[in-house]
């Protein structure tokens, strides 16, 4: 097999220059700060419209999902198709602990997130140990999410089946829906982005880049591939579960459709592909654009699915590198044209 090809999930990091060189620390985090400021100003622009605030919150939720998935798929090439299930375990786990055992919500969230991190690490471990191809990791995780949804529908006593789980306790500030929850999800997203950038700059990030480009070479140069894949699997899964738990409580009740494959995994994949797999701000750009497009297309009802199909096709046939890296390339090209003598 030709080794000159660049793997799908492994485009050149558009901002790898910032990451790789020992640039001043504050410069590496500049995009995160800028994003935080820009997103914090959004409520000022859209005013106190309930509809737009909800929409903006939804964009944040999906951006946060996508950051988690970006660590798993974008950085270590593991195709986890169970994001919805992980988010669901986060939400339903917390809910079941609270409803049945009276466990306080923060503790419930912590337990559920840890359980999901364990699942993520276990999937990574198994896939490395059994030397599964990307495709098999995809199928195993896909079956996991189908099993999860079927269990939700089957175990009515605990989960409420199709009608959903009603919370018997107070979901706290997240459940208020409005500005408070917007800023809670914004905080979560900014923390995720900061963690993401920190990871990129640490030894873990170096290992990620090495094993993403060539696993065998990475293993041979002394990188414990299993360990780093497990770190990525656990970290990304924990993020997804945390967001899932918070989003469930924000909605006020959990329903299986909220955590379906088509409701979480597919949109997140499209967003990440659109924004740029493996880039820092790709998830934010992708989630923002996708949420707006989704709101605009809502009157189309079922035809929306077809439009997403077309978007998916155009993305993967046309811009396989995503929008953010393309813009970065353009910016660098402009900069090169301007600077004399180069």
């Amino acid at each position: 097999m030709a080794s000159t090809e660049v793997p799908l999930g492994a485009q050149q990091d558009a901002d790898s220059a910032v990451v790789a060189t020992q640039a001043p620390r504050w410069r590496a985090y500049l995009p995160v700060v800028a994003t935080a400021v820009a997103l914090a100003a959004i409520p000022l622009i859209i005013g106190d419209s309930r509809y737009y605030t909800d929409l903006a919150t939804l964009a944040l939720v999906f951006a946060a999902y996508a950051v988690g998935f970006n660590i798993i798929f974008g950085n270590t090439n593991q195709l986890f198709l169970c994001l919805g299930a992980f988010a669901g375990v986060g939400a339903y786990g917390t809910g079941a602990l609270g409803n049945e055992l009276g466990v306080p919500m923060p503790l419930g969230v912590l337990i559920s997130v840890c359980v999901v991190a364990g699942f993520g690490a276990a999937f990574s471990w198994v896939s490395v140990r059994r030397r599964l191809d990307v495709i098999f990791v995809g199928i195993v995780t896909l079956t996991f999410s189908l099993v999860f949804i079927n269990l939700l529908l089957g175990q009515r006593d605990v989960t409420g089946g199709e009608t959903g789980m009603v919370l018997l306790y107070d979901p706290g500030p997240v459940g208020e829906r409005g500005l408070v929850s917007y800023y809670i999800f914004l905080t979560v997203l900014i923390v995720f982005l900061t963690v993401y950038r920190w990871v990129q700059r640490s030894h873990i990030g170096w290992a990620f880049r090495a094993l993403r480009d060539d696993e065998v070479a990475a293993e041979l140069s002394g990188i414990d591939v299993a360990r780093y894949k497990m770190i990525a699997g656990a970290m990304g899964s924990a993020m997804v579960a945390l967001v899932g738990a918070l989003y469930g409580h924000y909605e006020g009740f959990f329903s299986p459709t909220t955590f379906e494959l088509g409701q979480v995994d597919v949109p997140v994949l499209v967003m990440l592909a659109f924004g740029g797999i493996g880039s820092l701000l790709g998830p934010v750009v992708g989630a923002t654009v996708f949420t707006i497009v989704d709101a605009v297309l809502r009157p189309l009802a079922q035809l929306r699915t077809a439009v997403y199909g077309v978007i998916l096709l155009v993305l993967f046939l046309g811009f396989r590198h995503g929008v953010v890296p393309s813009i970065n390339d353009l910016a660098r090209w402009v900069a090169r044209r301007r600077s004399p003598g180069s």
Partner: protein, 284 residues
Amino acid sequence: MAVVLDGVAYGLQLALLAVGLTMIYGLGGVLNLAHGQFAVVTAIAAALLMDSGLPTLPAVIVGVLTGAVLALILDASIMRPVYRLQGENRVLLSLLITLGVAFVIDGLLIYNYPFTALNLNVAGPAINLLGVPMRRGSLAASLLALVALGVLIVFLRYTRRGKAVRSIIEDEEGAQLCGINPSRIRTAVFALSGGLAGVAAVAEGMTSSLSATDGLNLTILALIVTVVGGLGSVAGALLAGLLLGIVYSLATFYIGAYVTFIILLVTAMATILVRPSGLMGRGA
């Protein structure tokens, strides 16, 4: 006994559904997530034709051809960039692209024909088989599946073209050196698999009904069977289809429908973990 026979009947349908998927994977290294949608396109086309007054047989034949032609068009257009990639990247891109195709088909069909369903009633009293009364519909479906699978096996075993297909599955480069054009055969097999999905849809229409929303479920079922049988192995798909069909009908009978699906899923997962190459696969 009745349960087992039911299982065999269902298993034949499962095998029919999975065979096309597994052949494309073996041949082109492409995982087609729009496989179930081909079946649905066939079903909707046939149902619409029957609604407009065409007799059942020609309607069904045109339906199956529609599935095959659709597959042909896809292969000749948007699958081209996929074939330019190699190995793991090819599988990954094919998966994402066919997922997009599945969405387009699903969206269009569910939007335009939400209430159309293929329902081929095979009337008449139950027939006794080995002392067990069997519904005519499920017998007819089994017969159809048997014939289709039989023709496929004869084609693969005894015709020049079939041998060419098998040689590419074994070793694409070697086949090319022997003067076989993999790209042409691949296109033909893609169309064949679309047609097989269509035949599976017809069989499904004989036992129950098939509507626009069933695409994803069919794809998942085909995927489970394919994985258990070994991706790329035709014999494996047959064996796994029969086995899972029997398991399915036993579990539905003794335990209940929702646990059954979980059992199938867990079987697929366990197969990947224990023996990634599947029942009949050649080494991992």
